[in-house]
Structures are given as C-alpha cells and as structure tokens.
Symmetry: C2
Subunit: 391 residues, 2 copies
DNA sequence: TCAAATAATTCAACCAATAAACAAATCAGC
DNA sequence: GCTGATTTGTTTATTGGTTGAATTATTTGA
C-alpha cells in the first residue's frame, strides 16, 4: 500500500505556513486591512496575527497605512498593506520579434516596462541573451532607484525548457539546446515556457476558476495548464504542446514531422495565408468588415481549435478555456466555430458548456506572468525571504 | 497578486502530519522496521518517533512484531508493521457483466473477494444496487469475523460520477442520473469512475512513476490520470474521457453524437468486429496464431490508440502509459502500432520515448483500487482514524 | 464625563518536537 | 564468564509556537 512520502514537519514549518497565510490575506485584500480582520479571515488568534505581522513589517513585506474609513465605535484599526518598497519580480521575455523586461512589485503594479523590438531570429541566441542582459540590468537599476529589491528573475521563451534552464528547442526562434546562463551580476534567473507563464499571468489578474487552460496563439500554438490553482508543468516541464494535437491524421505535413497537427489549421501563419491577410491586425479589420475570405478562414480555424479544445476538455475536465495571443483579438470571429465543435465533441457539454474567454493581458502576458511567478515565490514562502542572506 | 488561500495550521496539524509520515514509512517498508530506522528514514528524532508509534500502536494501526534478522552488535530492534486487524477497505464494483466486492487490509493483502457474474444491464440500477448491497454486507461480515473494521467503501462504476455520488451517465450500463444511496447499515460509501480507481489500483501495487495515464479498454475507453502521485479528477470529476478524443473528424458516427471518436477505432466492439472474433480471448488466440484479420484489426486499433496517446503525452507530458482492461492482454500486438504513431506525433519522442506498460492487476483493478483508496484515506490522515467516534 | 465598543498587546499555559542523557539488551573479544 | 562497545528505546529538560484570557489603548455615543 504505497502512498506519497513527505518530509517531517517541525514547529518552524507551522510558523512559515501561517506567515504565508497572513501575508497572502493582506495581499489579496483590495483595501488596507486590520490585524483583527486578518485574524477573523484566517481563523488565527489576534495574538498570533500580531506576532506574525510584526515579523512581516520588520522584514519589509508589510507596512502600516491609514486605516480604512471607520465605522461605529471602538479603537480605530491600523491598516496593513503590502510594502511598496519590498521585493520585486523581474519578468523577462525573448520572443520572435522583441525582447522585454518588466518590474512588478508585491502589490501587483507594474513599476517599469522596457521593450526592444527587433527580430530575435536574426540576432541569434548569444546576441539575444546579451541584449536581454543589458535590458535586465537597466530594469534592475530602475527598480533599485525606487527602493525595491529584485527577488528573482524569470525568463519566458517560446519553446521547450528543461529543468536545468536549458532551452531544448524553440522552433520559432531557431534555438536548439541553448544554455541560458546567469544574469551578469543579477539575481537568480529561471527559464520557463511562454504559454505557461502567460497562463500564470492571467491567473494573477483575472477572475478565473482554479482549473483552466490558457491557449496561446502565436507563430506556434502553446498552452498553459492550470490545475487546482497551480501550473501543471508535467514531469519534465513539457506539458501543453497543444499545437501538435492531431486534427486529421491525413492532414497537411507539419514541420514537427507528423501530419495534420492543429498548428497547420489554426496557427497564425496558416490562418493568415488562408485569409490572404498580412498581419493579425489586418485580418481583424477584414473580418470586422465582413470580408468572406477572412470570415471563412476564421471559421475553419475555429473548427480546428474547437476540436482541440474538445480533446483538452474531455481529458482534463476544465470548464474554462482562455484564448490568448492572436486569438484574444480574433475571438469574436472564432468563438462560434470553437463553441460549435466543442459542443458537439465534449461529452459533458450538454450539462456544462465550455466557457471561452479572451485573455486580458495582451502581448505582455508572459512577461508579466514571469514577474508574477517570482512574487508568488515570495508570497508562498515569506519565511525564506525574511531569512535571506543580506549584503 | 492572488495566491492560493489556505487554512491556519496549529500544533495538532504538525502531529497529524508526522503521524501520517510514520505510518506511511512503516506501511511502505517491505519488512518489519524498527523505530530507529523510521527515525533515520523520516528525519524525525527517535524520541518523537517513539511517541508517535505509541499512539499508532494503541490506536490499532501498528503492531510490534518479531524484529527483522539481526546484524551486528547492539540492543535488538523491535519490528513495527501495519496491524493485520486494523481498518480495512471495502472495494465495490458494478460493471457490465458482473458485480463484486473485496476486502483489503492496511498491508495491502486481499482478504476476501466476492464476485457475482451476471448482466447488470438487464438487472437495472435498482436491482444491481440491491444485489451489491447484499454482497457488501456479506463482505463486511467476513471482514468483521477476521477482526477487521471496515473504514469505508468505494464503488467503481463505468461512467461519469458527480461529487454528490450521483451517476450522471453510464452508457454501457444503461444508467442515467442514478442516485447511489447509502449502504444499508454499512460504512460511508463514495462512488467513483472505474478507470480512475483502476489507475489508483495500479499505482498501489506497481512500480510506476509519479505521473502516468492508465488507459482502460473495456466496452468504452476511459483513462485515469495520475499526476504527481495523486489522481487528477478534474474540476467536476469528469476527467479522462479519452474514448471520445477525435481521431478523424469525418470518421464513423459515435453514440456520443460526434464523429470519429477513438472508441469507434479502438473500442472493444469495433476491434472485435473488424477482427471477426467473438471475445477478447478468442482475438488473442487468433492473433497469436497469426491470423491476418486479427493482426490487421489490432494494428489499426494500435494506430488509433497511438494517435490518442500522442495527444495525451503532448498535452500532459507523462512518460508512461499503462494499458489496462482488454488492452493488457492484447498489448503484444498493439504495442508496435501505438509506438509507431506515438513516436511520430509526440513532440518530445526523440529525446524521451513514451513507455508503454501492460496493467498488472487484471479485471479486478478497479475494485482493488476502490478498496485501496479507502485505505489511502486512513494512511493520509491517521489522526482522524485514531479519533474516530467509536460505538 | 463616563460607559460601551473595538483594536492591539501582554502573559501564563499548553502542545509538540528536539537534544542529550540514560537505561536496556545484545555482540565481540579476551 | 566478564567487560566494553554498540545499538535501541525511553526519559527529562528545553525550545518554539499557538492559544486564551486579561490588559491597555482609543474612539463613539449618551
């Protein structure tokens, strides 16, 4: 009778857990919140909350603010809010036609955003990474000028990433087995897939359920799978390769070597070619104008996407699909095609139809999600941040 | 900046966790294990382990046994093993052509197994459930005669089950919205999907990784998805409906209303019809004899299965697929077809090919998994069992 | 001005794990 | 057969953390 093996728990783990609980409660509250309110929300004692808050305030994660507007008698509460000068997340991205960096603070506000357009395929991995390093250094300097401490950096790339921070293959960048090193003089950096991080970004800002799949329509098609409020990366971090779900086993050849992959029906290039448009923006304009070629192309893409969505929903039983990348702006014309095919093929569609939503973050989703995932690390384990080695 | 909300942790939670850790360590050990060994394995102190073991022994979950054969000097150890007369799991199953019950103890040994063949479609839900109740009562009596206490019961059915214990639809039983009530006079019973429970059964006994997908080939095709050592049920419990993954959008009509579902290519009925065999056993004999019709049918089914497997692996990045139900015995002739198609379509196949394994538990997998899931509940939270209300 | 109400802190009590000392039981060597 | 080494298991004092009750602080309303 096997069961999952864990590690021993000591009292300090209790404190670490409750510290995170208090911090997250404050962070999730839209307004400054009192210690007493935190106590009732979390179920902890007021005494305990006071002790934990003391640690968080002296550690620079929380600050006392003006209390929320009073009501009734009694001693006025002292408001608690996340510190605006505490840790910050550095989100980085290298994509086909730009590279970027952003700084987000614990409150979730974007403090800085730097984007350099330019074809990264021509630049090659060395030059792209060097340029990214310069961008990251600038962003870090801006953050420190604000009094922020960069807690970590995460880089989003459109490709398969291994645990060790190696980009196995990023077809649309032309990268293969690229070792992403350290940020020169910077904080620790990890690398992750663009769609995964974009899904986290949408989870951070959106009103989304605990289970959803984010589908990213870029040059390739990727997906970020969020199960139970956490990203599912797969055993090797290569989950969500939705672009190569077979739609028709005898369909057109794909550059992955197989036939009939989704990318050949609903990938950006295939749709633009079928519609006769040059850019996604032009396609949206053509569709809005009612041009038949555009509408037909989008209907066909929607049907293929709907078939893939049906597969995902039948397999994972997620209720919500978030469409991002170029699909976000095209969703008005894709929606019917997706919904029709999914409604026909999802076994449970009759009782519980699939919800389709457009992503809200736009092209910065992955970069913002990358920064957010750094902050999530602090929110999930503030004890580590409090006891970090300091210069 | 949202993050998952938890509940407060007190000291008693620490004890509950460590209690589970010690119990699982003993349960996972093939031989009786000493307190000192448990301490080194878990990382807890010998003193702590002694205290926790005392609780578990007086609570009837562990017993002291003859120590394992000695080695070297020193005071001889006292062996610890899971109690053979502690809690037991009652596993129940209603399937197309039989109903069954089994009693499994904490050590994982099957203490009793009762199976009544008979077409449950003809019987109808009321009669099937009444018969199951009688079977469960007999199994429970046998367990109590052994000194076991039945800790709970889980029923496996081939269909979609909602959280409230209602069978939404079980097409092959002909059930629809069947409310599975209480077991008369028995322990609490929950209902779950057959493939899910079979996956748990294989996880319990097999040498399997923490992530795998169990594919069950019965009249329908279902899948149990195990991620990170735990069953993934989906937000409503309807995950794993692999049988209706589209293989060819213009394929034959399926009884689900769509076209070209996997079930139409690799379902038991489709394969037997194509091969001209009456039963799975006859098909296996024909294939072993090299009959062309049988081999062709299995090759075609393997290709369809391989396409579906490729979809699953591209999406979830699981390395291992366990084939159960009728596929277990037919795997020798399915393997090449599955491997070829999966190798072509899985994006990461070149670096890390998909591992195909035959299930080891045979037709009882779901029933045993059902019993095992009861015991898993005790192993995961022994504190609840120790403080249970007693008659 | 005083009582009621609410917020936050202080302090003793309790619970659980730890570390270290101690008791128990065996083996190995002479 | 005795002695010392060795390993197991228990005992005891200590530490870290939460709780609950009492206390202090600060405001509103009569």
């Amino acid at each position: 009778m096997m069961s999952a093996q864990g590690s021993p728990v000591r009292q300090s783990s209790v404190r670490a857990h409750n510290l995170a609980l208090v911090l997250q409660t404050v962070a999730n509250s839209p307004d400054p919140i009192s210690r007493a309110a935190v106590a009732t929300v979390t179920g902890l004692t007021r005494a305990t909350v006071s002790a934990l808050v003391d640690d968080l305030v002296t550690g620079g994660l929380l600050t006392e603010r003006e209390p929320a507007p009073r009501t009734g008698a009694g001693r006025p509460a002292v408001g608690l809010a996340v510190a605006p000068d505490g840790p910050a997340g550095l989100g980085l991205e290298i994509n086909v036609d730009y590279r970027g960096a952003c700084v987000v603070d614990l409150a979730g506000t974007v403090r800085h955003r730097l984007v350099e357009p330019g074809d990264q395929r021509l630049a090659g991995p060395q030059e792209a990474l060097a340029g990214l390093g310069r961008l990251a250094a600038r962003a870090r300097a801006l953050a420190e000028a604000d009094g922020l401490t960069v807690a970590g950096a995460v880089l989003a790339v459109p490709g398969l990433v291994t645990a060790g921070g190696v980009v196995r293959i990023a077809p649309n960048l032309g990268w293969q087995d690229v070792v992403v090193g350290e940020l020169p003089g910077g904080p620790a950096m990890t690398v992750d897939n663009e769609a995964n991080l974009a899904a986290l970004g949408e989870l951070d800002v959106g009103d989304l359920p605990r289970d959803f799949v984010y589908v990213s329509g870029e040059i390739g098609i990727g997906a970020g799978i969020v199960l139970d409020g956490a990203l599912y990366r797969g055993s090797r971090g290569w989950s969500g390769e939705i672009g190569h779900i077979p739609i028709d086993p005898d369909g057109p050849a794909c550059r992955c070597g197989a036939r009939g992959c989704l990318e050949q029906y609903a990938g950006q290039e295939a749709v633009l070619r079928a519609a006769g448009s040059d850019t996604v923006a032009a396609l949206a304009i053509a569709a809005a104008a009612g041009q038949a070629a555009a509408l037909d192309a989008l209907t066909a893409a929607g049907a293929a996407l709907g078939t893939a969505v049906a597969t995902v929903v039948n397999l994972l039983d997620v209720r919500t699909i978030v469409l991002g990348g170029c699909y976000a702006s095209l969703l008005p014309w894709l929606r019917d095609g997706i919904a029709a095919e999914a409604g026909r093929r999802v076994l449970t569609a009759a009782w519980s139809p699939v919800q389709l939503r457009a992503a809200t973050l736009g092209p910065d989703a992955a970069m913002l999600g990358a920064a957010g995932s750094v902050l999530r690390g602090v929110l999930d384990d503030p004890a580590r941040w409090l006891s970090r080695p300091r210069p």
